[in-house]
Subunit: 174 residues, 2 copies
């Protein structure tokens, strides 16, 4: 879609590549939003910038609200999000999202979830250890970048949740 036909292969020029990523990323987000609205489907979309040099963006667009849980070592859990080691997210009902930050009891459960997620993380780490080759992890630095991006993305989503929430409450039920 453009003045020139584009072959679907990696764009060599880094600059063009980043531009394409930016444009197309937005396009996909729009489509995902439309799909969700038109069809009442839950759609999750995760996009990581090819370079990792910026947050790229992360979106979940759905008829339902979203809850994102970062997994950390349980002993470091204090509530709130920070230094994620791992990402886990779940789509929840709108109401759920509201309560999410409102009750202490909920926080207790959240903590429990955190612990469980951590166990899963550990289990998966074990599984990964079966991999005979870790040279495919290009750099620890980039991995850390991803971790940071995800955190920021989540913070955005937290804000976004509330806004979206209001919109949904004023729109006719689906």
């Amino acid at each position: 879609m453009g003045r020139k036909r584009l072959l679907i292969k990696r764009i060599d020029n880094p600059c063009s590549r980043q531009i394409a990523y930016s444009k197309r990323g937005k396009g996909i987000l729009k489509k995902a939003t439309e799909l969700s609205t038109l069809c009442g489907a839950d759609v999750g979309l995760l996009m990581f910038s090819p370079t990792g040099s910026r947050i790229s963006f992360f979106v979940i667009w759905t008829g339902m609200m979203i809850s994102v849980v970062l997994v950390r070592k349980p002993e470091t859990f204090e509530g709130g999000f920070d230094v994620p080691l791992y990402l886990s997210l779940s789509l929840q009902t709108c109401t759920f999202a509201c309560l999410y930050t409102q009750t202490d009891e909920f926080m207790t459960l959240e903590r429990k979830l955190c612990e469980l997620n951590w166990k899963i993380y550990e289990a998966q780490e074990k599984m990964r250890s079966y991999s005979p080759d870790v040279s495919n992890i290009y750099s620890i630095a980039e991995a850390q970048h991803h971790q940071q991006f995800v955190t920021k993305a989540i913070q955005r989503i937290e804000k976004f949740k509330k806004t979206k929430l209001l919109e949904k409450e004023t729109s006719p039920s689906l």
Copy 2:
């Protein structure tokens, strides 16, 4: 895009809605694939059918391989995928994905993961029970479907194939 302009609001006719979902879902998948290929970006896409009558589809398109894990009550675990109660998915390295179905020991770990995931599912069910209002869920039936299908997503954001790797390392940082 079509013979008639379409307002972006929920499509009332269930039949048309399903058709639109099917068509647009494929479209988004294609776009996500293109984005990944063109830009070398990791893209995760999760789509849940509005009816829940089929698993709809789930795709992660990226330089990485994908692993999808359906979570069921541990006692029903037999390996293989069927009757999902819960969905959990993870991006894994190619190598990981290969091993995935190759070792018994791996299966043991997978089972353990299944158990843990189930615990999380239960914890989330409890959390959800705090919801005082489900009127925003358009129908109980659909809500139940959502409970079954939607919810736990992205367990893992992991690394990359060597090819991807090399590409990244040889391109200038943006």
